[in-house]
């Protein structure tokens, strides 16, 4: 057993004892009932299970939860899909996904939302040229699998959000 204390969506959890063989995905879904984080392939290949990890330097990245231990998240700050909307209000990115009907079955959507949010925050810190936008979106979402093949719609939704606020996300706009 290992002690685990972390912050999820701004709320402190733990310290609690967790089994060393407990995955982070099981901790979220089974121990906390936070089933928004999905379990897909179980091998970090579909990335439907990713959460956002917020680093002390203000940057963030996504992290699969199905192949890593819960204990490895001790002391970390993470965000899950449940943490995006505030006061019942969806984020701009969530609204864009709905407007584009980017998802179909929706199973991969939490992973795409988390990845997209990380990209938006990265571009807000470090804007890019308009010419690099398509590649940047494709690279960011690369690796996330959608069995309903909604890739183009996810991409278009991301592009719309970024182009709707060029002064924030694009250089020289």
């Amino acid at each position: 057993m290992t002690k685990l204390a972390l912050t999820i969506n701004g709320h402190a959890h733990g310290p609690v004892d967790v089994r060393d063989d407990l995955t982070m995905n099981d901790y979220l879904r089974e121990s906390l009932g936070m089933t928004g984080t999905k379990f897909g392939c179980g091998a970090a290949q579909c990335l439907s299970c990713v959460v956002i990890v917020d680093l002390p330097d203000g940057t963030s990245h996504t992290n699969p939860t199905c192949v890593v231990s819960a204990a490895s998240f001790d002391g970390k700050k993470i965000r899950t899909i449940e943490g995006h909307a505030t006061g019942g209000q969806l984020t701009v990115l969530q609204k864009a996904f709905i407007e584009h009907f980017a998802f179909q079955c929706g199973y991969c959507t939490p992973g795409f939302i988390n990845e997209g949010q990380v990209l938006l925050e990265r571009l807000a810190r470090t804007p890019i040229a308009r010419a690099d936008l398509e590649t940047t979106i494709a690279d960011a979402l690369d690796g996330h699998l959608c069995r309903c093949t909604g890739y183009v719609k996810y991409h278009e939704a991301m592009r719309d959000v970024i182009l709707a606020d060029p002064g924030r996300f694009l250089k020289g706009a």
Binding site: D21, T23, H61, P64, V67, V68, S69, S72, D139, G143
Partner: protein, 207 residues
């Protein structure tokens, strides 16, 4: 005398039994994760010619260096390989500027400080790709031998450094404790280190 129909049944049953036995053997072979043996330096003492003996040490060491546990992370391109079949790593990950992955997908995102067998995830605190100039994938043992002696292509290591790199480095050592479902590199890390030491001390000749 057996009727023709009965003969046919016997033949079919026999073929099925052979197939089942072969399939069982194949499955058994596929799931055999016992490491192969590695010969000790002493076992080459019968080779009186020093240079040939030195080359023989390296040939034996080559069983380790060309093993997927090593070559998968010494790729010729920007993507590591994985598994005993050395398939391209999935998900698609890339070397990045420092060999520790791209900004958006660092190796340590999944590969943590130790193997996590419930997730079938191999791990080591220093998990990363060997630099491109140290790529071994697809090379012969002779080519690797010449390469590993070249400081420009071996991480700026002296021959003596190689003894510790192979024999004591913890990331290299992972190859002998790769976790669930992966076949370890031949022998032990200590045995591999002993072969490198014997090879260096005998003139570091290449096969």
């Amino acid at each position: 005398m057996m009727k023709p129909g009965r003969w046919l049944s016997v033949v079919i049953l026999g073929l099925v039994m052979v197939y089942v036995a072969a399939a069982g053997a194949a499955m058994s072979a596929g799931s055999d994760n016992r490491p192969e043996a590695l010969a000790s330096p002493a076992s080459f003492s019968g080779i009186s010619n020093t240079s040939r003996r030195s080359a023989a040490y390296f040939t034996e060491l080559g069983k380790v260096l060309t093993n997927p546990r090593c070559t998968n992370c010494h790729p010729v391109g920007d993507r590591p390989r994985q598994g005993d079949m050395s398939r391209l790593h999935q998900p698609a990950v890339f070397r990045g500027k420092d060999g520790f992955g791209l900004t958006t997908m660092r190796c340590s995102t999944c590969h943590q400080s130790a193997n996590f067998d419930p997730g079938r995830m191999p791990g080591n605190a220093l998990w990363h790709l060997a630099p491109l100039e140290m790529a071994w994938e697809g090379k012969t043992i002779s080519q690797i031998c010449e390469q590993i002696k070249d400081p420009h292509r071996n991480g700026n290591r002296s021959l003596h450094d190689l003894i510790d790199h192979v024999g004591k480095d913890t990331l290299v050592g992972w190859a002998w404790a790769p976790g669930f479902g992966r076949k370890p590199a031949p022998g032990t890390q200590k045995e591999a280190g002993a072969l490198v030491e014997a090879w260096v001390q005998s003139g570091a000749a290449c096969p």
